[in-house]
């Protein structure tokens, strides 16, 4: 029985009504699906010629696999740098020094408020104007920088709320055995805070993977851009979009599943009851 406060456990008459509604709803959903297929068919989007390219190894080796590599590569670099950025500024926000707290807070709030795309475009143009990196690394650098700044700020908030969600006794215990505030933070609170936040951190990976598709706008060779090349070659936009959507969804679904698993496994790993919630994390795409 699902725990839903809205509905009573159904009696026999309601059960019958539900069964009827169930069938009607199912027919409506299937009808909608059939209508989509029909429209695609009528517009000639379901012909074999449009789908066949995705069964050839050339399309995969020339376009899609490099695209997946570009997407995952940018995501991987961003995750590493965002982790470092997040721990540094998360600790900064928890520091005893008011100045350090203020500066870290301002940086984190700023990069959380500015859209990732804005930063990506800015960094890209900045790199071009000042010739800071070789031209074949321009787009990757811009994508990774923008993703790092935004997601690093999110990680900083996660670290902070993870530490703040710990029971007060943890900090008191650290201080009472003679550790300084910094030592307590680093060796007692931070490991537990990060453990508590691990599921949220993993779900943030979904955001990183999705946002790497913003690199499309600055011609970074990620999956969406590569799929467009395929679509231009074979004039099969709809199939190309569907195929890469499936790839994105598969990758992100797997990441979400890992996050769920972790959440369940880690529930007993930290001291005290934890319900860590950082504001505005998983909902945002930027």
């Amino acid at each position: 029985m699902n725990v839903n406060p809205l509905f009573d456990a159904p009696g026999p008459r309601t059960k019958r009504a539900f069964r009827v509604a169930n069938v009607v709803a199912l027919l409506l959903l299937l009808g909608g699906l059939a209508w989509v297929v029909l429209v695609l068919e009528r517009r000639g989007q379901l012909t074999a010629a449009k789908w066949e390219p995705f069964l050839t190894s050339d399309v995969w080796s020339d376009y899609l696999l490099p695209g997946i590599g570009g997407t995952l590569g940018a995501a991987a670099w961003s995750v590493v740098f965002a982790g470092i950025f997040g721990v540094v500024f998360g600790l900064g926000r928890l520091s005893q020094s008011r100045v350090l707290r203020g500066v870290s807070g301002a940086i984190v709030e700023f990069f959380r408020a500015v859209p990732v795309l804005l930063m990506m475009v800015f960094v890209y143009q900045l790199l071009i104007v000042y010739r800071l990196v070789p031209s074949d690394r321009l787009a990757l650098t811009a994508v990774v920088t923008a993703l790092t700044l935004y997601n690093g700020s999110v990680v900083a908030e996660l670290v902070r709320s993870g530490v703040l969600s710990l029971p007060k006794g943890q900090r008191e215990a650290g201080l009472s055995v003679g550790m300084t505030h910094g030592q307590t933070l680093r060796s007692v609170l931070l490991p537990q805070g990060i453990t508590a936040m691990l599921p949220a951190l993993v779900s943030q990976l979904v955001v990183v993977v999705k946002d790497s598709a913003l690199g499309y706008l600055i011609s970074y060779a990620e999956l969406l851009r590569q799929a467009e090349y395929v679509a231009t070659n074979f004039s099969n936009y709809i199939p190309a979009v569907m195929v890469i959507a499936a790839i994105f969804i598969t990758i992100n679904f797997a990441l979400s599943a890992v996050a769920d698993r972790l959440a369940r496994r880690l529930r007993s790993r930290t001291s005290g009851r934890l319900a860590p919630q950082a504001p505005g994390l998983v909902t945002s795409t930027k």
């Binding site: 406060p5 859209p115 959507a245 679904f253």
Partner: protein, 233 residues
């Protein structure tokens, strides 16, 4: 300092920066209405006691949530319009391309954020303990009464904070509409930087501050509101 202020005033004179932000706000407003409408329907589906509706809602949310917004907007423009010939504006009008792109962007943004609206509303319902429904029933309230008087008021209050996050994300995500040529803030910024690379930091600063000025008050207001109406348990 004088050069800075001349630069700023020349930039504002030369480019329609306020117009760009007006477009950002317009996209936000329209997509918010759209995503609230679709998201509410989805939330009702997901919390309904009918399994096939629950399944349909769950599939929508999980598929859309895991798809990049950029992909959705490109699919709206190249897929719906270019390939399937679906138009959302009057094709004989002189501003057809602009109108159509804006509406496609609103459609894409609404479809994408509807999944987050749905989850926000659902999390609001989840904040209501089952005991509240049991208590309502035990004092003799009917199903409709307990929904109207006890459960929904608490559910809406619980949903405010997550909805606030959706609004903020949506505001920032309107920048992705630049992908399909809608002249909102990020699009205009890109143009400005390309033509005036000498003042690149200034241009970025103007737009970054613009977003901070839009996003921070929304965040503060929603947090204040959610605290103010919070149900203390």
């Amino acid at each position: 300092m004088t050069t800075l202020s001349t630069d700023v005033s020349s930039l504002f004179a030369q480019y329609d920066i306020f117009g760009a932000f007006a477009m950002t706000l317009r996209l936000t407003g329209m997509a918010l209405i759209g995503s609230l409408a679709i998201g509410t329907v989805l939330a009702v589906m997901r919390i309904s006691p009918i399994p096939s509706l629950q399944l349909g809602g769950a599939i929508y949310v999980n598929v859309v949530r895991n798809t990049p917004l950029t992909l959705i907007l490109v699919a709206c423009s190249l897929g719906l319009y270019t390939q399937l010939g679906i138009v959302l504006a009057d094709s004989s009008s002189s501003t057809f391309i602009v109108d159509n792109n804006i509406r496609l962007a609103v459609l894409g943004l609404s479809v994408y954020h509807a999944s987050f609206v749905c989850e926000a509303l659902r999390s609001g319902v989840n904040t209501v303990p089952t005991g509240q429904a049991e208590a309502a029933r035990s004092i003799g309230l009917s199903f409709g009464q307990s929904l109207r008087l006890v459960i929904l008021p608490q559910a809406f209050r619980g949903a405010i904070a997550p909805l606030g996050n959706v609004v903020i994300a949506l505001t920032k995500n309107t920048t992705v509409a630049a992908t399909i040529g809608v002249a909102e803030a990020s699009y205009v910024m890109k143009e400005m930087i390309e033509f005036r690379p000498d003042v690149i930091f200034l241009v970025f600063g103007i737009f970054a501050v613009g977003f901070v000025l839009i996003v921070l008050p929304v965040g503060v207001f929603m947090t204040w509101l959610s605290r103010r109406v919070a149900v203390t348990r």
